[in-house]
Assembly symmetry: C2
Homo-oligomer: 131 residues x 2
DNA sequence: CTTGACCCTCCCATGATGGGAACCCCCAGA
DNA sequence: TCTGGGGGTTCCCATCATGGGAGGGTCAAG
């Protein structure tokens, strides 16, 4: 009946390793049994699921910490949550656009490279710095 | 006259720290002077610039290693370079799309959150796992 | 009493980068 | 000649989130 870390991992979709890590940085505080084993009650599992969902959206753990605090705070202002989320959206989009821009540059370069057995290659020329 | 690591850093746009790191992993092999100082000849600077350009396109250092080998190989087939580049393009685009997808999910959630002083918040509801 | 499936804590590695300590080298100015 | 300063050198540590693995404790079923 006692929910140990393995059960919690299966129930939450968070690896045991990560569950221990989240505890080490203070995101979750499971009780301990007499033998030293961690024990997870329902609210602990809910916290782990919350963390997983937030991580699925790539919130950094420090953001997750704030989100958890807001979640636990019955009287929080949803505006704060929204600001945090939109800040993260901005970061995600900036990163996505940066990556896509690099992909596009490289695609254009690759398009001008015949890509056969011949050695001449505009991709290497560009990396070398020829313009 | 002797080009030391500081000069190489300024000439290549790569930090001293990174220049030493690239040497540690075998991407560049500067000569050493009698006093132990590294000495960079023109080809070394060119390698550093090449690395920087590749890193600007977010090629992982292991890819950079292969690109350098191909670059040094006068008889390489441009097809190999092209394959490597297109593989990286695919990785970049996958990552970019993944990030953009997360941003979109979160934007939609944020759009349904009034974001005022009231506590109810669909963002937290979603993270909690209510459906 | 052994076996096997758990659990525990620690240490190490990833990838690319930076910070900083402790120490060496060299040159110019007092 | 001493000193200061601006190089250089190596080595260790931190980041961020995650996983691997060693070495050892716990417990129930056979």
């Amino acid at each position: 009946m006692t929910i140990t870390i393995g059960d919690a991992a299966r129930a939450s979709g968070v690896s045991e390793k990560m569950i221990r890590h989240y505890e080490a940085i203070g995101l979750v505080r499971p009780a301990r049994q007499a033998n030293g084993y961690r024990h997870y009650a329902e609210p602990d599992i809910a916290v782990l699921r919350f963390i997983r969902h937030a991580r699925d959206l790539a919130f950094p753990l420090e953001d997750v910490r704030r989100l958890l605090a807001l979640w636990h705070d019955r009287g929080r202002a949803s505006g704060e949550v929204r600001r945090l989320a939109l800040g993260h959206v901005a970061a995600l989009e900036a990163k996505a656009q940066s990556l896509q821009a690099m992909a596009n540059s490289l695609k254009h370069l690759a398009a001008t490279c015949h890509g056969d057995d011949r050695p001449d290659c505009p991709i290497l020329d560009e990396l070398e710095g020829k313009h």
